[in-house]
């Protein structure tokens, strides 16, 4: 039921500068192991994992160090061999301190993982495949780090008919998915094949923004003959990659407010996540490393790197030649939704898609003006909220009224803030309001 | 109810609880007839008379008025006084009576008067009620005079009909028109607010120790 030709234009949204030229042609390479790895127990959506090792233990690369705590949770594995020096509070990319396992990496070890039994996925039942994915600690690499096995186990009453692969990478600067699709198209297709088999779906659509012609070409060229996989180029607009928008564009289905993609029979998965699934069954290794774009004018040698999860930001920057004099703001994730970091000791997580180092000149102007009710934010909001009204309500802390005005449908994409000529931190206000409401409702 | 002294009863209505400027009661006549000082005075005096008269009467009769019909009875009393005032004004100063038009009868429904009966006269002695009514009445007159003076001086260039700026003064017609009434009262309230805030701020800052962040002082 995909649109026959050409994608529908995303309604709302904005056109930030793309700024991908820094790394879009840079080949993925592997980063050398750092001296220390720090693995927070909270790396995914859902409950934090429970640690199963002790201070002083020696672990090898790929060993499980923390167990999933419940179904919506995910195990964590050592991303390098070494000794556990401490399990204590450590700065977390979300700005707080969180329980983390610190591993002193063995300097002279080959870091080769112990040989593992890699079962042939073709011989496994869907349940067994999902179990293997769960054991490997696979979570979504598109940003939210939602445990993949949960997504792959939709309830019976919600039949899935289509898998959508999200190759939009609509955030400026980032090229992780782009390079993955260009360099490992087969892996993407293998992961997709495994997923389709898990859920028993026969149809998949890959949505890729038109600004990545080489990725479109690579993925199209490698579509396996026996699978019903469509590659659909889509318009370049932020946030085309948000799953609700992508489903609407590709399939013409609108996920109802407050519902999930599975309610319209769709599962959306990021291309890098799918490639990771393939890797699990190719190498037997769990999710212990990922591809990260380190970019921005503030970093000396922008690159696409394969990085062990838990590498500290400081080490990663050093691996890219360090930062420039005028580097000012360091963001985990893309510049539209990413989180700024205050501490160079924070570790990279499974869900960290990129590190953007902005120089003083790149940083958005910070002086705000009063809202002039221009309505640009209404035009920009892809879920058709009224950010102008919500913003005013937020400023006087009228959160219940915000909820009545569909605050909970806001996905914090930041389009409104981007479009606002008065530079009002709308999405920041909304994030706070959502938080306040959540705590109020919990109380 | 906290007990008040007679002085407080009298003074309260004049400024601190001024019916028009603070309590926002009796607004209709305060805006409708205040386009000249003379009208303001006439209206103020008429209202003063009705207010004092009915306060005394209500306070005298409070024992005999059943709760359920008290409003009706108060209105009866007030209406009688107003009718008397209306007819008397018409007989004595017909010109002013004409200028005030329908607003003399409307004194009956001046929320301020009924409000004083309900809130004060119905519960207090005759003497106290009279003091309270007199204070409130004077407060009303003051408010009307302020409005009337501003509107007449700017709107006609005269005060009580006496030209202030010479014959070639350009009158600001708007001040005499309805918008002028609203705007003048708005402007007066703005000024009063400013004065009040200024005082309060000083009071609060006085209690705060040294070293308070600069922005508060501003």
């Amino acid at each position: 039921m995909a649109r026959a030709s050409g994608a529908v234009q995303l309604a709302g949204g904005v056109h930030p500068p793309e700024l991908k030229a820094l790394t879009e042609a840079v080949q993925i390479r592997r980063m050398p192991f750092p001296d220390e790895i720090v693995l927070p127990l909270r790396q995914h959506a859902g409950k934090p994992a429970m640690v199963i090792v002790r201070k002083g233990n020696r672990v090898e690369r790929g060993d499980k160090i923390a167990e999933a705590d419940g179904f919506v949770s995910s195990p964590i594995h050592a991303s390098a061999s070494g000794t556990i020096t401490d399990i204590s509070l450590w700065p977390h990319p979300d700005g707080s301190y969180a329980e983390a396992v610190r591993i002193a990496v063995e300097p002279f070890s080959a870091q080769a993982a112990r040989p593992r039994l890699v079962p042939d996925w073709r011989g496994l039942s869907p349940e067994q495949i999902i179990q293997a994915i769960q054991d490997a600690g696979v979570v979504g690499l598109g940003g939210a780090a939602f445990p993949t096995h949960v997504k792959l186990s939709p309830p019976k009453e919600k039949p899935i008919d289509t898998i959508v692969l999200n190759g939009c990478e609509c955030e400026p600067y980032l090229t992780t998915d782009h390079r993955t699709m260009v360099e490992y198209p087969e892996r993407v297709h293998l992961g997709l094949r495994i997923m389709m088999r898990c859920i028993g779906v026969t149809r998949a659509i890959v949505g890729i923004e038109r600004n990545k012609p080489d990725a479109i070409a690579a993925i199209t060229a490698t579509v396996p003959g026996d699978l019903d996989v469509t590659v659909q180029p889509v318009t370049v607009k932020y946030p085309q990659g948000a799953e609700k928008m992508l489903i609407d564009t590709l399939l013409g289905r609108r996920v109802p407010s407050g519902k999930l993609p599975m309610d319209v029979g769709v599962i959306v998965q990021n291309v890098a996540s799918v490639a990771t699934i393939a890797e699990v069954f190719e190498s037997g290794l769990p999710l212990i490393e990922r591809i990260v774009t380190v970019t921005g004018r503030g970093v000396k040698n922008p690159a696409n790197l394969i990085v062990p999860v838990g590498t500290k930001l400081r080490d990663l920057l050093n691996a890219c030649g360090g930062v420039t004099e005028d580097a000012y703001e360091i963001v985990f994730g893309g510049p539209m939704m990413g989180t700024a970091q205050a501490n160079l000791d924070v570790p990279l997580l499974k869900g960290t898609t990129g590190v953007v180092v902005l120089t003083e000149a790149d940083c958005k102007s910070k002086d705000t003006h009063p809202c002039i009710r221009c309505g640009h934010c209404l035009d920009a909001c892809p879920v058709f909220l009224n950010p102008q009204l919500l913003g005013r309500l937020a400023m006087v802390a009228r959160y219940e009224e915000m909820e009545a005005n569909h605050l909970m449908d806001c996905m914090l994409c930041g389009c409104c803030s981007f479009a606002c000529p008065s530079n009002i931190p709308l999405s920041q206000l909304f994030a706070l309001a959502k938080n306040a409401l959540r705590t109020r409702q919990a109380a | 109810m906290r007990e008040t002294t007679p002085q407080q009863d009298l003074l309260r209505g004049i400024w601190r609880e001024n019916p028009v400027l603070i309590q926002m009661l009796g607004l209709c006549p305060a805006l409708a007839v205040t386009n000249t000082v003379a009208n303001s005075i006439a209206m103020g005096l008429a209202t003063f008379f009705v207010l004092c008269g009915s306060s005394v009467l209500v306070s005298l009769l409070k024992r005999f008025i059943p709760h359920e019909v008290r409003i009706s009875t108060y209105i009866l009393i007030i209406a009688s006084f107003v009718t008397v005032a209306d007819m008397t004004l018409e007989a004595l100063v017909p010109v002013i009576h004409k200028a005030l038009g329908a607003f003399i009868p409307l004194i009956v429904v001046n929320c301020m008067i009924l409000g004083r009966q309900e809130a004060f006269a119905a519960k207090r002695s005759v003497g106290r009620s009279l003091l309270d009514a007199a204070g409130t009445g004077v407060g009303f007159i003051i408010a009307l005079l302020m409005l009337g003076a501003v509107r007449e001086v700017i709107g006609y260039g005269t005060f009580l009909g006496i030209s202030l700026f010479g014959p070639s003064y350009e009158p600001w017609v708007v001040m005499i028109l309805p918008p002028g009434g609203f705007l003048t009262l708005g402007f007066l309230l703005l000024g009063l607010n400013w004065v009040r805030r200024h005082r309060e701020k000083r009071a609060t800052l006085g209690e705060w120790p040294e070293g308070v962040r600069k922005e508060e002082a501003a």
Binding site: M336, T339, A340, P382, F418, S422 | S168, W172, V174, M175
Partner: protein, 334 residues
């Protein structure tokens, strides 16, 4: 190696190109040709009146407004637009009073830029019109020399201007309303008619409006719906009774409709935020303009039409909330 200082901010970390001051100053820029045409027709009086109105607005903003508010340029727009709605011969002190009132009571009491309900420039003009109705409806005719002052610009503050009857003319709308005399549409378009400063440059205003709309500094839906409403309503009335009701072209190009529809109805602050609301808003203005012009006691209804619709904007905004994604009927296809 490590940066000297790190910055943390909330996402998004990038911003769009336009900022509020940019928008405001480009509107100021686009008003330059309009002012130039006014000066061409009315001589130095035009500049004086506009300057006096702007001075009133700008000084009020400086004295009572938030610090640095002048830099955003909105007070300048208010002043210039107010000036453009005044007659060339108005005493300067009156223009100044209009600016003070517009910014003071029309904007600052609401908390300054962005918070006001009524268009400050028009509120200033409405105040002047009610305060000094005669001076505000005295339209000076062309002077013998371009450099002569029109009317009594230099009247002493608070004192009456000396109205020289022979020097005053009438606006096309006044002629139409009170004397049933039409005016050539070509004259209207060329601007060679009596009226307020900004009424004489319909074409230039239209051009500047197109430029601003292209840069998305104004919402084209508002002028479009105003023009459409006025054209359709007055066109049909004209068909019914051509003797009583003027034609659509006359209605569109006479009076302050062009300036009002393009520069004043589109003031973002005082117009609806939703696109649907903008259509409603424009329709309402068009309707009121026609009603007031044809059946009201005043010759011109643009100012009142806009002010009345300004008062309705909060209500329109309420009524035209966008329909949130996923709450409509477009549902699962199974």
């Amino acid at each position: 190696m490590t940066p000297a200082r790190l910055l943390v901010t909330a996402s998004p970390h990038l911003g769009g190109a336009d900022s509020t001051p940019t928008i405001m100053w480009s509107v100021v820029g686009s008003l330059v040709p309009v002012v130039a045409v006014a000066t061409y027709y009315f001589g130095p009086s035009a500049l004086l009146v506009i300057a006096a109105a702007s001075a009133g607005g700008v000084l009020t903003e400086t004295w009572f407004g938030p610090k640095g508010a002048l830099r955003d340029g909105s007070a300048a727009i208010t002043g210039i637009l107010l000036g453009l709605t005044l007659p060339a011969g108005l005493p300067l002190w009156m223009a100044f009073v209009g600016g003070v009132f517009g910014i003071g009571f029309g904007k600052l009491v609401f908390g300054g830029l962005g918070q006001n309900i009524f268009n400050p420039a028009l509120l200033g003009r409405a105040f002047l019109q009610s305060a000094f109705p005669v001076a505000m409806t005295t339209w000076p005719t062309a002077a013998p020399h371009w450099s002569d002052l029109r009317g009594d610009n230099l009247a002493i503050p608070l004192m009456s201007p000396e109205v020289v009857d022979a020097m005053t003319g009438a606006t096309p709308l006044g002629l139409m309303k009170f004397e049933q005399i039409g005016t050539q549409v070509s004259a209207l378009i060329m601007g060679s008619v009596g009226g307020s400063l900004g009424e004489t440059s319909a074409l230039v205003v239209l051009g500047c409006g197109a430029y601003l709309a292209a840069r998305k500094h104004l919402n084209w839906r508002i002028p479009a719906s105003i023009f459409a409403t006025v054209a359709v309503l007055s066109g049909s009335l004209h068909l019914l009774d051509a003797a009583r009701y003027p034609g659509a072209m006359f209605m569109l190009f006479s009076g302050g409709l062009m300036l009002g529809a393009i520069y004043m109805a589109t003031d973002m602050v005082t117009s609806p935020v939703t696109n649907k609301g903008c259509w409603v808003f424009g329709f309402g203005i068009g309707f009121l303009v026609v009603v007031i012009r044809l059946w009201g006691g005043l010759a011109e209804g643009v100012m009142y039409g806009i002010l009345l619709m300004n008062a309705l904007v909060p209500f329109i905004n309420r009524a035209t909330q966008p329909r949130v994604f996923g709450t409509d009927t477009k549902q699962v296809v199974t």
